[in-house]
Amino acid sequence: MGTDFLQYVISGITIGAIYAMVAIGYNIIYSVTEIINFAQGEFVMLGGLFAVFFAGTLHLPLYLAFICAVAVAGCLGLAMDRFIIGRARESSVLSLIIITIAVSILLKGSAMLAWGKDPYSLPAFSSGGPIMVAGAAIQPQALWITGICALVVIGLTLFFRKSVYGQAMLACANNPQAARLVGIPVRYMVFLSFILSAAIGAAAGVIITPVSMMEYERGALLGLKGFGAAAFGGLGQFFGALVAGLILGLAESFCAGYLSSGYKDAVALVLLLMVLFLKPEGLFGNREAARLKKF
């Protein structure tokens, strides 16, 4: 019983870290543009599949494949803003959000054409068997996932809190006109947000592929759960996204373990609904700030 519990906690944290990273991707673009980028899940999927392409097809070493996949996704994020979102810049935020849904469908379809419908896997980042802790097995890859996630959260939190450019990105979201008037090049900040968020999503996709494989249609569900975590933690809150992602991962893992794995995908949606009914600004959202925002 105790071993089972521990095992569920470990797998919950692992998957929760992935949700947190996806949620952070939403948060970055939302923080700068107030757009919720529903193509975020597709960047996760593309990250995984590009890593498979670089490592499996081009036989690059794994770390290079990781870097290349993240870089390609970053470029796709930039292209998405430059050629699609940027063209509709004058439209309302809601229209832009709907455009992101279209981009998501486009990316998913292209991935299906490029990679087919089969799932792909990657070798784990480090070899060696699972580490046994009190009877529960920890895969080394789980450590990689949580470690990379922690690094991303800490790095981004510092960036947005402490650096002038991070603050400038927030200023763009809060009042783009005023941001331009104090000399912030809003267009570049938006580019940067799309690159960052696609890259982080892709990183999540690469690190999860050795554990749970990747295929063209995984993005939608990962994106949805990541969005659940982002809303649950409070949109724009990086620490909130981390906590909410972990809670979501644990809840799913327990549900799969103690109830039935058939219900596990519903957990995220139930959680999301509860948050929206009871605390729309999210766990860590600032009610005051939420009221001062447009969306």
Partner: protein
């Protein structure tokens, strides 16, 4: 400040901003119909006019928020029309926009930090300037960690002015700084503008309280339906029959007379 031998040169040199027959359209509306004006270093120039006369359009055109269809704008002898607003700040013009437009969901401190964005590579200067404004407006210091949107209207205006000054502009443009404020706050904001004038700053001021604005200003321009219809020294305009009739009114409440 080299002493030039010519008698005329110093006068020309003192001119900081020149607007030459600017035309700006809002869609089909011809909002500015060939407006010309100039601002000399160290003076306060005010734009007076009714709603819809084109005052805000004019400052928005100067600051790059609107693109002029025709005409020239020169700042320190350099053409700036058609530049992006984010580049114009770097040239030394800062706008305190109508309605304040502070970063409401960010802290007071972050607002000031953003005001110094163009000097982001000079941290000491930004810090020192910020402390200076905290010294000048202690209320902002008390609320430095509060979200700017929770400040009162007057405090937000102080923040907006401080934020604009953080870029160390050569020319400060104020668009309706007293709009929507309580009478006491209007008085306070006007006294701040007077202080800025005493510091020798160059200011282009739009103000609905024509009387108060003309009293502070060295010179003024009266705008009507997109054209300059009158110009002159502040005092002169104050006593002008037309201005009195149209903008000052008889027996208007004089709450702004500090």
């Amino acid at each position: 400040m080299g002493g030039k031998p010519s008698m005329l040169l110093p006068l020309i040199e003192k001119i900081m901003l020149t607007v030459k027959s600017i035309h700006t359209y809002y869609g089909n509306i011809h909002a500015l119909k060939g407006v010309s004006l100039h601002v000399r270093r160290g003076e306060i120039v005010t734009l007076v006019g009714a709603n819809g006369a084109g005052k805000s359009t004019l400052v928005n055109t100067i600051c790059g928020m609107e693109k002029p269809a025709r005409g020239q704008i020169e700042f320190n002898g350099e053409p700036i029309e058609g530049l992006m607003p984010e580049n114009i700040v770097g040239k030394g013009i800062a706008l305190v926009p109508e309605g304040r437009q502070i970063f409401s969901a960010m802290t007071v401190e972050a607002n000031l930090l953003m005001g110094g964005f163009v000097h982001r590579n000079n941290r000491e200067q930004v810090r020192a300037d910020m402390d200076r404004f905290f010294g000048r407006f202690p209320i902002l210091k008390d609320r430095r960690h509060q979200l700017a949107g929770t400040l009162s209207g007057g405090e937000q205006q102080m923040l907006a002015i401080s934020r604009a000054l953080m870029s160390r502009p050569q020319l400060l443009v104020l668009d309706e700084p007293s709009m929507g404020l309580a009478p006491l706050m209007v008085k306070l904001i006007l006294s701040i503008i007077r202080e800025l004038k005493d510091e020798g700053r160059t200011i282009l001021l739009i103000e609905q309280n024509a009387r108060a604005a003309l009293k502070i200003a060295d010179r003024g321009y009266v705008l009507e339906t997109g054209k300059v219809v009158l110009q002159g020294e502040g005092q002169e305009l104050l006593e002008h029959r037309e201005v009195k009739r149209a903008y000052l009114g008889k027996g208007a409440k004089q709450i702004w007379e500090a």
